[in-house]
């Protein structure tokens, strides 16, 4: 907005200086309207008791944040979200790394497999959710049948109806869906590493795992961190899997920050407190992002 006024005031006498500002106006306006304004408005709402239902709309200062700190439902969802984020990102990174290494090797049909690998990621999450709903169905699911047939379990496991398994099952669904995305990012990273380095290591007598551990992995660190950052921020917002599979239950055991804020904002229409929840989510995400960024910067520094 401020850029716009600067641009409007200056052109008359000092046109050439204004040009870069003028060129920035479209992006500033679009970012301002779809990104900056909603964030600021969310912050503002989080300090009010706005609710469509009770029709209140007053400034209450930090009251909402006080309530939030003592709100068990929030901390419960906060913990689940962190567990989900860290476990799913870690699994996806490890498995994705393995897939990337496999797909990096030469073999017939490689391009076909590389393309096919992306199918889970390209599928709408709601479809994935429904599919996993069936796979892990407690009575007729394939997973229970396989485990029973293999003699690994004695009775059907109630995947979504038990507090011990529900979150884990949702993590499995997420890992299945998003690992290909990780693999693709890491594959791209692998391709930037000069092949002669691995070759040289081999000639020096390094075994395959040594060549990976001491040559490829160090060069892949920044890609790994950036991919991990993307994934962690994305996983933090998990919504559709939970919404479709469990609705947050049983006994709130799969409630995440996204589903909780959705319920508060759109089901109960408490825009004030709901915005406080989303602001808390925003802050947690920012902390995660900064954590990753510190590592990334350090890594880039070391690379130079």
């Amino acid at each position: 907005m401020r850029l716009g006024t600067v641009a409007a005031r200056k052109p008359r006498n000092r046109w050439p200086d204004a040009t870069p500002w003028l060129l920035l106006v479209p992006i500033a306006v679009s970012l301002g309207t779809v990104s900056v304004y909603p964030i600021l408005n969310g912050l503002w709402l989080s300090l009010r008791n706005t609710s469509l239902v009770s029709q209140q709309d007053d400034f209450v200062g930090l009251l909402n944040y006080g309530v939030l700190l003592g709100d068990d439902a929030f901390w419960n969802a906060w913990r689940h979200t962190l567990v989900f984020t860290f476990v799913s990102t870690a699994l996806e990174t490890v498995i994705g790394m393995g897939m990337a290494l496999l797909l990096f090797e030469q073999f017939t049909g490689r391009s076909l497999i590389r393309a096919a690998m992306l199918v889970p990621w390209a599928m709408p999450t709601v479809v994935t959710s429904k599919m996993f709903g069936w796979l892990f169905d407690g009575q007729h699911g394939v997973v229970n049948w396989l485990l029973l047939s293999a003699g690994l379990i004695r009775d059907n496991i109630n995947w979504y109806g038990s507090v011990d398994h529900a979150l884990g099952t949702i993590i499995v669904a997420d890992v299945w869906k998003t690992t290909p995305f990780m693999a693709l990012l890491l594959l791209a990273g692998l391709q930037t590493i000069d092949g002669s380095l691995t070759e040289a290591a081999r000639m020096d007598g390094a075994k395959t795992w040594q060549a990976f551990l001491y040559v490829r992995l160090p060069m892949l660190w920044s890609t790994l961190l950036i991919a991990g950052l993307f994934r962690a921020l994305d996983a933090f917002r998990v919504f559709d899997l939970v919404y479709v599979l469990t609705g947050g239950g049983p006994a709130d055991s799969t409630e995440t920050l996204s589903t909780l804020s959705y319920k508060t904002l759109f089901s109960t229409l408490q825009f004030g407190y709901g915005s406080t929840l989303s602001t808390a989510m925003f802050i947690t995400e920012a902390i995660i992002a900064v954590g990753f960024a510190v590592f990334i910067v350090r890594q880039l520094g070391r690379a130079r």
């Binding site: 469509l52 239902v53 009770s54 029709q55 439902a73 169905d137 407690g138 009575q139 109630n158 995947w159 979504y160 109806g161 038990s162 507090v163 529900a166 469990t246 609705g247 947050g248 239950g249 049983p250 006994a251 709130d252 055991s253 319920k263 759109f266 089901s267 109960t268 229409l269 408490q270």
Partner: protein, 438 residues
């Protein structure tokens, strides 16, 4: 000309017989055919009608069009919202429009649980003067109660649905058992059938942490003479002995009598319906839609073996069926009150209710419509439901229902999962008190 129109409009307001009304409507339609069609649209009062999407052999739009054809005073524009399965989105869309107070939509349909909220916020027009007490006796009493907030009628019944007990006639006969009237009967019959190996599951219900769990909870609690909220709706009663005993019963179906699999804790309507129509269960609690699926040879292995009855109750209690369905409301900010009421009168009339029942398969809110011969012939099942709907019990009536329901869902789910029924329900009750006290 315009005076005639106002007179005709006002005459449509009072409660008039179906035949007279249809005759009038026919005359109006005939007259409008004779008149110049172009001038017609301009002379009409324009109102909008917003509803969740319902369809059967006909769509809502076709029914609205029939109203437009039936008279020449009002023209209704129909705005379709998502289907009732996306109830959160429908609610949000409605509230966002009503909160602006622009008068649009003039008439809307609402889930039965939103009525208190819409009335408490002053968005719904009180309808007492248009539908006096004498006219309200034509509807199921439970529904009129649900449409009344603070002693004012703020919604008009449209269609009804409620929880009911589905049972397998063949299995009951083989076990030599009667249709259970109490929960104890249900447990012993279900146990016997399970023991005989004729059905894998005794009783299926919905324990997923979702709105349907509140319905299942309301039914057991009310059938024990309890309630979730106090009579004035200002405090919780979920921690009372009667509520605890009722929820304990649901817990026991999984863990003690084992007539229900623990999977019910993650099941809503459809997952619980499938084993029943697949022939694996003796009893099922569900809504009216299950019947037509159970009788369809394409997807059901229990065709002709399914019966429906009111849900059982505790000894000394009365059967309770959680009330569902959508009801009409008029926007308090409407600029066309007469037209809106005229449309509403037509929509809720016996003739239109019969049309909804026959064409969209949704159950009338007027008991008298169930005695219609054509309905008995085309929808014989619906006729049986009359006795079920008489026991229809509303969910907690409070303007803060949206918050209260989340607290109930969470609390009851925790009680059912952990078995600490008393502690979890008391904790949920404290939460409900906090919400209501705000």
């Amino acid at each position: 000309m315009s005076n005639d129109k106002t007179a005709a409009l006002q005459s449509g307001l009072g409660p008039i017989g179906r035949r007279e009304f249809l005759a009038g409507a026919g005359l109006a339609a005939g007259a409008s055919l004779l008149g110049a069609p172009r001038a017609r649209a301009a002379d009409r009062v324009e109102i909008t009608f917003s509803s969740a999407k319902f369809f059967g052999k006909q769509t809502m739009a076709e029914v609205v069009e029939a109203y437009n054809q039936s008279q020449s005073k009002v023209h209704v524009t129909y705005v379709e919202l998502p289907p009732p399965s996306s109830s959160t989105e429908v609610h949000q869309a409605l509230v966002q429009q009503l909160v602006r107070k622009t008068g649009t939509p003039d008439v809307f349909t609402q889930d039965v649980v939103w009525i208190a909220e819409m009335a408490g916020a002053g968005w719904a027009l009180p309808l007492d003067e248009y539908f006096p007490a004498s006219a309200r006796t034509d509807y199921f009493p439970g529904l009129v109660a649900a449409c009344t907030y603070n002693n004012k009628l703020t919604a008009l019944p449209w269609f009804v649905d409620s929880g009911m007990l589905y049972y397998r006639t063949d299995l009951l006969e083989a076990a030599g058992a009667k249709v259970p009237e109490t929960w104890a009967d249900l447990v012993s019959t279900a146990e016997a059938i399970q023991k005989s190996g004729k059905a894998k599951f005794g009783y299926l219900w919905q324990g997923k942490q979702a709105e349907v769990l509140v319905c299942d909870a309301v039914e057991v609690i009310a059938s024990n003479g309890g309630a979730i909220l106090s009579a004035d709706g200002k405090s919780g009663a979920l921690g009372s002995d009667k509520s605890i005993e009722a929820i304990q019963f649901l817990y026991d179906t999984i863990n003690k009598s084992k007539i229900s699999p623990s999977d019910v804790l993650s099941w809503d309507e459809e997952p619980s319906r499938q084993p029943f129509t697949g022939g694996d269960a003796a009893f099922l609690r569900n809504w009216s839609y299950v019947y037509s699926i159970a009788q369809d040879p394409k997807g059901s292995s229990v065709v002709g073996k399914v019966g429906v009855a009111p849900l059982p109750h505790f000894a000394g209690g009365k059967s309770a069926a959680c009330l569902g369905g959508y009801q009409f409301g008029v926007n308090a900010a409407t600029k066309n009150r007469e037209a809106a009421i005229d449309f509403l009168t037509w929509m809720s009339s016996p003739a239109t209710q019969l049309r909804f029942a026959l064409q969209l398969g949704i159950a009338p809110t007027r008991p008298a419509v169930y005695d219609d011969a054509q309905l008995g012939k085309e929808q014989p099942f619906m006729k049986q439901l009359k006795s079920v709907f008489v026991g229809a019990t509303p969910r907690p009536v409070t303007p803060k229902y949206a918050q209260v329901t989340l607290a109930i869902q969470s609390g009851v789910s925790k009680a059912l999962v952990s078995g600490n029924v008393k502690a979890e329900l008391e904790a949920a009750n404290t939460r409900i008190d906090q919400i209501l006290g705000k």
